[in-house]
């Protein structure tokens, strides 16, 4: 019993330490004046994190949109209101599934890569040698990745939603025969830019920040061995996936006035 409490206390202290370190990494990387001269590094990272995630994001978006159309149609057709299909799919994609699923994909595809890369840089003393050259790796390595995640994630989420809606229209309109005008007009009536689209974008921005933050932290604090890096990579995917799902709940709670 006492041992359990002690364990719990230890766990709590470890958690606080980790949060503190992660916070200080973030603070030092982002708030110490981002230098314009480092813009090309951000570009390179947007390529690594964003552009290389496009294919998986678009493919998943399309399949999820198509499945939503199939399942939604099956239910709605019972009430003769299959014209609401477009509305339902669009709302679900824009507010929830777009940001959340693209966030999860981002964690798996880009987050793990960031952790492994930074961990390996640490293990091969590249970070140390950079420090000895007089360059702060937090600015040179960590900051561009944080910015890139912040910029790429909303773009990926938007693409996901658009491709998903397109996929659902292919299935719903062209295959299942929902009247095209109704499909789009109910969607346009029901979806509001400010109260739906914008809130989805805010979610994805938060997810982008949190996922890259976790990935960078895990890489930076990884034990510099092959085992340590593999553990850190796994942790990145697990922690950031859970973070995305939990944050989604709270963001929904706050933004949608419950």
């Amino acid at each position: 019993m006492l041992a359990n409490i002690r364990h719990l206390g230890q766990y709590g202290i470890d958690l606080l330490t980790a949060l503190g370190r992660a916070g200080s990494i973030w603070w030092q990387a982002i708030w110490r004046r981002p230098r314009l001269a480092n813009a090309h590094l951000v570009f390179r990272q947007i390529y690594q994190l964003g552009v290389l995630s496009v294919v998986i994001t678009v493919l998943s978006g399309f399949s999820i949109g198509a499945v939503l159309a199939l399942q939604g149609y099956n239910q709605l057709v019972n009430y003769g209101s299959e014209s609401a299909l477009g509305l339902g799919v669009a709302l679900v994609l824009v507010m929830e599934i777009g940001p959340v699923v693209s966030g999860l994909l981002f964690a798996g595809r880009a987050g793990s890569a960031v952790t492994a890369e930074i961990g390996l840089m640490k293990a091969t003393e590249q970070l140390s040698s950079m420090e000895m050259i007089g360059v702060d790796p937090l600015q040179r390595i960590v900051a561009p990745r944080l910015w890139a995640g912040f910029i790429s994630m909303p773009i990926l989420a938007l693409m996901f939603s658009v491709v998903g809606i397109w996929g659902s229209s292919l299935i719903g309109v062209d295959w299942l025969g929902v009247y095209e005008g109704a499909f789009w007009s109910t969607m346009q009536d029901g979806v509001d830019f400010h109260s739906h689209v914008l809130k989805g974008i805010i979610k994805s921005v938060v997810f982008g920040l949190v996922v890259t933050w976790i990935a960078v932290y895990q890489g930076y604090e990884a034990e510099p061995s092959s085992e340590g890096i593999s553990r850190a990579t796994t942790r990145t995917v697990v922690h950031s996936s859970v973070a995305v799902l939990v944050l989604d709940f709270f963001l929904t709670l706050v933004m949608f006035n419950f």
Binding site: T124, E125, Q126, S128, S129, M130, E131, M132, I133, G134, V135, D136
Partner: protein, 281 residues
């Protein structure tokens, strides 16, 4: 290169009474040593005695719990992060693995310190990089990537990068480890040349006695967190302290025990309590 001949005897680095622990293990227990300006100083000792840690203390990557680390009269542990990064511009460090940036070509690796710390025009940087690469004999490899080079060549490129900003102090972490005899000769020659031509103070951390002794002006032997002997290589060879003799002659057992501290071998064999075996835990 700013080596002032008048100050040749002044100490470039002073370390006094430094205590440092990693976790529960005490690595340095009041270590003190001086590195004279413009000399080659070897720091030797068995593996795991914290030789690399010593370099990191000098470079300010680690902070001692107690004691003074002074480089050029500046107390490293007391410097702010910004001052520290400034001081490091006058230090070069050659890591054991080379630690080249794998996403940059050989040329860009050597150009890296110049690009971040100077506002020199591109053609000037190009000339400087080619000069540095020429001095390590790898000008022809400038377009290759670190992954395409052998271990010895990697280390030579890292050396070119370490001297890109013409530092006054250069630290070598195990520069001889894992090199074939030819590459070894090249590196030994390079270290000597850099010291003689540019007057760089050089610190070599190594356990390769003969190579180090052949170029060092002064050698410190450390063991158990303390300096156990120091002097010019020839003096050191004559020293009759058994610990130094064991290390220099490479005897397997002696004051530095071959065995990690353990219970009596016979006892452990006879005692069949398998729970003592980590395998079964």
């Amino acid at each position: 290169m700013n080596n002032d001949v008048n100050n040749a005897t002044e100490d470039h680095i002073t370390i006094s009474d430094v205590v440092f622990s990693r976790g529960r293990r005490r690595i340095f227990d009041g270590i003190s040593l001086q590195v004279p300006r413009g000399k080659i100083v070897g720091i030797m000792g068995p593996s795991g005695t914290g030789k690399t840690t010593l370099l990191r203390l000098i470079g300010g990557q680690l902070r001692p719990e107690r004691g003074i680390v002074e480089v050029d009269g500046r107390r490293i542990p007391q410097l702010s992060r910004k001052e520290l990064f400034d001081v490091r511009k006058s230090m070069g460090m050659l890591f054991q693995s080379g630690a080249l940036f794998t996403d940059l070509s050989v040329f860009d690796n050597v150009a890296f310190p110049l690009r971040v710390h100077t506002d020199l025009p591109d053609d000037m940087i190009r000339d400087l990089v080619l000069i540095k690469l020429q001095s390590v004999g790898l000008r022809g490899a400038s377009e290759l990537f670190p992954g395409e080079l052998s271990g010895g060549m990697n280390r030579r490129v890292a050396l070119a990068r370490a001297i890109a900003l013409d530092p006054r102090l250069i630290m070598y972490d195990e520069p001889f480890a894992g090199l074939d005899p030819i590459a070894l000769g090249v590196v030994v020659q390079l270290i000597k040349t850099l010291n003689h031509v540019f007057g760089m103070t050089s610190i070599i951390v190594s356990h390769d006695i003969h190579e180090t002794a052949s170029i060092a002006d002064l050698i410190y032997v450390i063991s158990d967190g303390k300096v156990i002997g120091s002097g010019a290589p020839q003096e050191l060879f004559k020293e009759d302290s058994p610990r130094i003799q064991q290390f220099i002659k490479g005897l397997p057992d002696g004051p530095v025990p071959f065995h990690y501290p353990a219970t009596d071998f016979r006892d452990q064999l006879l005692n069949r309590d398998i729970s003592n075996h980590s395998v079964f835990r």
